[in-house]
Symmetry: C2
Subunit: 540 residues, 2 copies
């Protein structure tokens, strides 16, 4: 991607804490390698600061800073070490935790400080004055050691409402002792935009400190709360990729920067970065091993997907009538969904999208809509399986009996999969398929590391002699969905498979009363579509 | 739940459109039965209005209104039919679409009207004046027929910014011809709270109409936008359960009503309803067949889950230090997550939660933390599998070699599952298990509608003679997660199983290189835990 090699303007900070606060999300468990990969994505995307973790508190984080310095050539971001103010009664210069922050060698340190009197007394167990002293002493010491310092005021908004005088005293102490930015944190996430805006404005006026905002999403307002703080004068926003974070999560980096650039007209990322946003969002999700949230603003696969027949027909007139921005600005794209709600207009547009011209043939389109309705009632979904939908279209293009007389590259007679758990704890997975291709009956058996993998291999073994192109195919993703979650293992199973031939990727769907049979259907479609992509027309 | 039988106060409207706009979400496909069930949940929850669909435009919606009238005794909600203003050039009294709205027999009708000049010309293809006439004529006609009328001004905010005079003329036309509420819709979802607040305030002042808000979440601000409109004087909020809706979705009903009741101190739901919110949210998700969003504000299973060791130790002091509301106010609960981040405090609290006293035994707790780390590296997750975690705890309680010498009700020697697709298209699923129990070797075979179901049955057949309690166990949920989405079928598979014995439900986890083997592990834990719940101590 095209990014300036220069650091982003310091006047406004896009500060990412995916690697520290984001990692607190339930279900996320990052290795050092994961953290390095995510750091590269975030730097490439162009955030100004990457908070890498808490060196000293967590060996994994200590290792991350060591390896990041050695292995990553940051183009846009500065690395930030997160830690706490010194212990009560000690001296910052002698506090081992503070020393670990310096040893991490990051140019910037974020210090978490208590700003809520109750937390000082109950959680920190010290006096209000000593807490202020801890902040002054620690900030001063880190500045003397040549570090840039940001101070996170934990529980600031709750603290301000309980004791505004003390909360502001904490901000002043951080500001006066040399912190560049004082970050007001809604740690428990209970605030609403109007409250945030009023408090940030007052604190800015009363303290003269440069302010930042750290919002959690417990009211569902983290993005709005972040923007409200910017409206009130904050020039530093702390976010996480995809909004990952403890409990509900943190302010989501992507809608925040998109709003700042596209709605506020600010420049907060390097040139061209925003167009990479969807890719970066999904890449980070892959690394943390979570399915990218389909309904995320701007970057979700559904963010510009249209289902309503009404909308679809209007979109044929002018796409801008039904989207708030051009999806390409954020690297996303408009999608027409096929579903029994979609109606003819969507099916026709979907056909175009797939390069299949339905030529406005009303009778044909009607037939396709009916087929889709009927199949979706059985549990199929074509919204997520373009290739299976195109195969359905091709069948219908061949006339009313399309499905019946569908021409295929091969026909399945039967198959069998066996999974065996041996007394020694190892597993044997074996599959046998009996298929017909080019008039010949072929029986093939293969092993795999699972029953579906064994079936996939057996099918290729059976067909590769007739269709050597199959060697290029690789199964890249496999999703299982139980359609009736309240019937345990006796419910309908839907399998979605993504396959690649090196040039492109396509998705196919299978639905059956068990996961193996559903997988087989999706495999059949995946192979058939792969052969069509290779330009091979069905033999029979 | 305890609800008043009287209708909620009309001064503020909680208007739900899950059944109409919410159904536009990608992946949702509602049957009439689904819609009736959801309507019952929403009425029980206490919304004032339930928009059921577009009678006439969609046979399913026509049927819904007929059956809702006949089958549902609404206690709190009024049913609303959604439709469009009459056709250009026609008369409302003769417009079949308008007639279908009346035929639906709902006491309230929501009319969608164009408020954006460009949409009138490009999508509606009529003149600006005729559009205003269509609104006056249709509202007047419906009022004459004794209906209460709300008017949805589609694309209002984009329209206002393009041509404020015309947008306000549309509001006036609706208001003057008898619409009780004029709803300003951010149809494309591109607005931010500050814009919404300013525009709603101006329109309220300039038109004198009672205003409502319909927000979409394309900027991630739908909840905040809804609250901003209320701040500016709107007294009618349109939302959907769990924020379901087209593209990114609609304003989420649950955080909106929670903010109004808990943050604004308004009474917008019947007494006690809010405490049912989590249950209602998950129940609706079940009906639409989507997994409840784990990170949803207030109602997500993670919404009050704490992972960070820091937080956990503070929560031992005082839970309110780290939560913005008491979870019980919304029917949710605090959860301590076990993960390698959690540290000792969480494990101890988690033990308490499960009724296993670790008695602050630091060495034991340390061992548990290590076991959890090691297992989570292999792909296990105990956050979602309390029963498997308790079995792990019990093992460790038995001393350092806990796992090795773990006492079990049975031991598995081996098992085998066979799935066969016959030429006639039917499937045979057969499983054989070889287990030891009470010193006896048992071999059992069973069939099922899938390989896991067959294994489940074979295991009970094998054990039921020795453990008749197993007859009560039922497998109620089954989830499959592919841990490395980019390795296709050769990736690690995690299976989560929920089992019930009629009194309670518990979750167990299995991880292996294939779905069948992972399922077997989870089944073993499920049965073992079920026997422990029945008070049966391991035999060997």
């Amino acid at each position: 991607m095209t990014t300036e090699t220069s650091r982003p303007d310091d006047a406004f900070h896009v500060f990412d804490t995916t690697l520290r606060d984001g990692a607190q999300r339930e279900g996320i468990n990052l290795t050092v390698a994961d953290k390095l990969t995510i750091a590269r994505y975030l730097d490439e995307f162009g955030v100004g600061f990457i908070e890498g973790g808490w060196p000293g508190a967590n060996p994994r984080d200590t290792e991350f800073f060591a390896r990041a310095k050695a292995e990553v050539a940051f183009r846009n971001a500065q690395l930030v070490a997160f830690g706490a103010t010194r212990r009560p009664g000690a001296r910052a210069a002698e506090d081992p935790q503070v020393k670990a922050l310096l040893d991490a060698g990051a140019p910037v340190v974020t210090l978490v400080a208590k700003a809520h009197d109750r937390h000082v007394e109950l959680a920190l167990r010290t006096t209000l004055d000593e807490n202020v002293e801890m902040i002054r002493d620690t900030v001063t010491h880190l500045r003397e050691q040549g570090r840039r310092v940001f101070v996170d005021c934990e529980h600031f908004f709750d603290g301000y409402r309980a004791n505004p005088g003390y909360a502001k005293a904490v901000v002043r102490a951080a500001h006066e002792s040399g912190a560049d930015v004082v970050v007001l944190c809604d740690t428990n996430g209970g605030m609403l935009p109007a409250q945030i805006q009023a408090i940030v404005a007052t604190v800015a006026a009363d303290t003269g400190a440069r302010l930042g905002i750290h919002a959690q999403d417990d009211t569902g307002c983290a993005v709005a709360n972040t923007l409200a703080a910017v409206d009130a004068g904050a020039t530093h926003v702390q976010c996480t990729a995809n909004g990952y974070g403890e409990r509900v999560g943190n302010a989501n980096l992507f809608p925040v920067v998109a709003a700042l650039e596209l709605k506020y007209g600010m420049k907060v990322l390097p040139e061209g970065a925003l167009r990479e946003m969807t890719r970066v969002s999904h890449a980070v999700a892959e690394v943390v091993n979570l399915t990218p949230a389909t309904h995320q603003p701007y970057v979700g696969v559904s963010a510009f997907a249209h289902k309503a027949g009404l909308h679809a027909s209007a979109i044929k007139v002018d796409p801008d009538l039904y989207q708030h921005i051009d999806p390409e600005l954020v690297g996303n794209r408009i999608r027409m969904l096929v579903s029994d709600m979609a109606g003819r207009a969507s099916v026709e547009l979907k056909g175009k999208e797939l390069g299949v011209d339905l030529g406005g043939d009303r009778e044909l389109i009607g037939r396709v809509v009916d087929r889709v309705k009927e199949r979706e009632l059985q549990g199929y979904t074509y919204e997520a399986a373009d290739a299976s939908f195109e195969l359905l279209l091709r069948d219908e293009l061949r006339g009313p009996e399309g499905e019946g007389q569908a021409r295929r590259h091969f026909r399945t007679e039967s198959w069998r999969a066996i999974v065996e758990d041996r007394p020694d704890g190892t597993h044997a997975n074996e599959a046998t398929v009996k298929v017909w291709a080019k008039g010949e009956r072929i029986v093939a058996t293969a092993e795999g590391n699972g029953p579906v993998n064994a079936l996939d291999r057996a099918l290729r073994v059976a067909l590769e002699r007739m269709y050597p192109e199959l060697a290029k195919l690789e199964l890249v993703d496999y999703k299982v969905r139980i359609l009736e979650g309240k019937h345990g293992t006796s419910s309908t199973t839907r399998v979605l498979i993504s396959t690649t031939d090196g040039d492109g990727e396509w998705s196919t769907v299978g639905v059956a009363d068990n996961v193996i049979a559903a997988s087989w259907q999706a495999l059949e479609d995946a192979v058939t579509y792969g052969l069509l992509r290779a330009g091979i027309e069905p033999a029979e």
